[in-house]
């Protein structure tokens, strides 16, 4: 590894220096996601600048836009002892600037832009930055709907649930299923998502039935499935939303996505076993439902 700082290293360091300059704190802790998201904003809002756009290539993935180039740069700056990493009790990692580097002369043109981004999204407000990226820069409406309005709120609530009683007080199952349908109606239309969409629609029906009545233990099983479905989606997401720089990874990503999709089928099968205990035994045809089904599926099968 060469010790010479590259363009991207200088961009990363500029974020640290600018944020420290603007901060009143003695020590500024930088979450990894903050660095990625500020640089994503910088490149995404300056797409016409090909030098910048191609030097910091991103793809959308599990935690939003991610750049392997930035990740490597952070590792390099750690090795060079310019950055330091701190781990907290809950395994979160934060970077601090250990020593300043003089003469960052490759990034002069971008310094003001980075500074304005940091003014808008301070390092202590990295959540605000993440939300902004998810809602304003998302390639699909499905992304904030699933991650920010469905998956993460459940995750947060589960952290404070200690017993069955808490569960019924804190979790509103009808809201959850509404949120799940909010996601379903926003699924992407590109061909690669076909298999995912089909499984998701089956999944939402199963959740709906399960959430008519469910205890905490079985709810946890459904939450794990909700989490797993996001991860499967993320595998397809990076295939459709990436900088050309990652094109050589597409074959590997595609085969990984289809492997995950196959696993999701198994997850659905397992959920159905959970569901079986609440199954009805008589065929049901209500008039209003029959009318809806006849006007849609009826036309579909008669074509």
């Amino acid at each position: 590894m060469t010790n010479a700082l590259k363009f991207v290293d200088e961009l990363v360091l500029t974020i640290f220096e600018e944020a420290e300059f603007q901060s009143t704190m003695e020590v500024t802790l930088f979450p990894k996601r903050y660095i990625h998201k500020i640089l994503f904003k910088l490149t995404n809002e300056n797409k016409d600048d090909s030098i910048l756009f191609d030097s910091v290539p991103f793809y959308w993935y599990n935690h939003g836009p991610f750049s392997e180039t930035v990740a490597k740069s952070l590792d390099k700056l750690l090795e060079l002892n310019i950055l330091h990493i701190h781990e907290t009790d809950d395994d979160s990692k934060f970077y601090t600037l250990k020593k300043k580097v003089k003469n960052l002369n490759q990034i002069e043109d971008y310094k003001d832009y980075i500074s304005s981004l940091i003014k808008k999204f301070g390092v202590l407000e990295s959540d605000k930055l993440v939300m902004d990226v998810y809602y304003k820069d998302k390639p699909y409406d499905f992304i904030p709907a699933y991650k920010k309005e469905f998956l993460e709120p459940i995750e947060k609530k589960l952290k404070v649930i200690n017993n069955e009683e808490d569960f019924y007080d804190i979790i509103s199952l009808s809201n959850l299923i509404d949120n799940c349908y909010n996601c379903e109606e926003k699924l992407p239309f590109e061909p690669i998502y076909k298999g995912f969409n089909e499984q998701f629609s089956i999944f939402s029906s199963i959740l709906d039935k399960l959430y008519e009545e469910i205890d905490f233990n079985r709810f946890i099983i459904t939450f794990n499935a909700i989490d797993e479905f996001w991860y499967t989606f993320a595998q397809a997401l990076r295939i459709t939303q990436h900088h050309d720089f990652y094109s050589n990874k597409l074959d590997r990503w595609t085969s990984f996505y289809y492997r995950k999709l196959k696993e999701s089928k198994g997850t659905i099968k397992n959920l159905k076993e959970v569901e079986r205990t609440t199954r009805h035994s008589k065929l049901k045809f209500t008039t209003s439902s029959s009318e809806i089904l006849l006007s849609t599926v009826g036309k579909y099968i008669s074509d």
Partner: protein, 234 residues
């Protein structure tokens, strides 16, 4: 009755779907067929999955359609709701057909059928007179009833056989010959399932019960290739 030619039957997905949604023409025929005694009825995991997928795909398409309507009415005030509705419909069909280009006509039929039947409600959503999530809940309820019915049919009226997923390569020559009849992927796979079940159950011929005109049209060719009799309920 022709159905009596075989006492062992394999049920195709369209017969099951027609039955679980209570479809006008199919319903009475499907229901009448399922009322008949003295038949052993089989189907397969693949048929079950096909039915489940068709029902849930239709649900998703409708949800995507009404979501577009909802989003559109949030954006602007309209002077011609019917014309706007028609544009949203065309746009939704074209979006969905990116994933279903070989089934585009069926997607279109489903969405047009829905849009015509519920035009009043859809325009009310656009005008802000009907709450979108209340209407969505009605749709979801209907599809949930249908998938509940599907489970009941497979639990009580059919024996769901697990057939090998790679039948197309195990029965390669049958697969190739069925392809030559002009049938498409899922139809061929389901026909091979019925052939496999016939073999496993040691029946000389299994009755393949279907309403699918594409299959019925090439009935004699299919019967030469695999050990089934293609039968349509009266």
């Amino acid at each position: 009755m022709e159905l009596n030619i075989c006492k062992t039957h394999f049920i195709d997905s369209n017969v099951v779907i027609g039955f679980v949604i209570g479809w006008d023409n199919l319903k009475c025929k499907s229901a009448k067929y399922f009322d008949l005694q003295d038949f052993v009825r089989y189907s397969s995991e693949r048929v079950y999955y096909e039915c489940e997928t068709v029902l849930n795909n239709n649900k998703r398409w409708i949800l995507q359609f009404i979501n577009k309507i909802h989003k559109d009415c949030e954006k602007k005030s309209s002077t011609n709701f019917t014309s706007d509705l028609s544009k949203i419909l065309d746009n939704t069909v074209s979006n969905i057909c990116e994933q279903y280009k070989y089934e585009c006509k069926k997607v279109e039929s489903s969405l047009i059928g829905f849009s015509e039947k519920y035009q009043k409600e859809l325009v009310e959503i656009m005008q802000g007179n009907l709450k979108y999530n209340i209407f969505r809940a009605r749709i979801v309820k209907a599809f949930n009833e249908a998938t509940d019915n599907l489970e009941i049919v497979f639990d009580n009226l059919l024996e769901k056989k697990v057939c090998p997923s790679n039948l197309g390569s195990t029965l390669f020559s049958e697969y190739q010959n069925l392809q030559k009849t002009g049938l498409h992927g899922t139809d061929i796979k389901i026909l091979l399932d019925s052939h496999y079940v016939s073999f496993r159950e040691r029946t000389s011929k299994i009755g393949f019960i279907t309403f699918d005109n594409g299959i019925i049209k090439v009935k004699s060719k299919i019967e030469e290739i695999i050990s089934v009799r293609v039968l349509k309920p009266d």
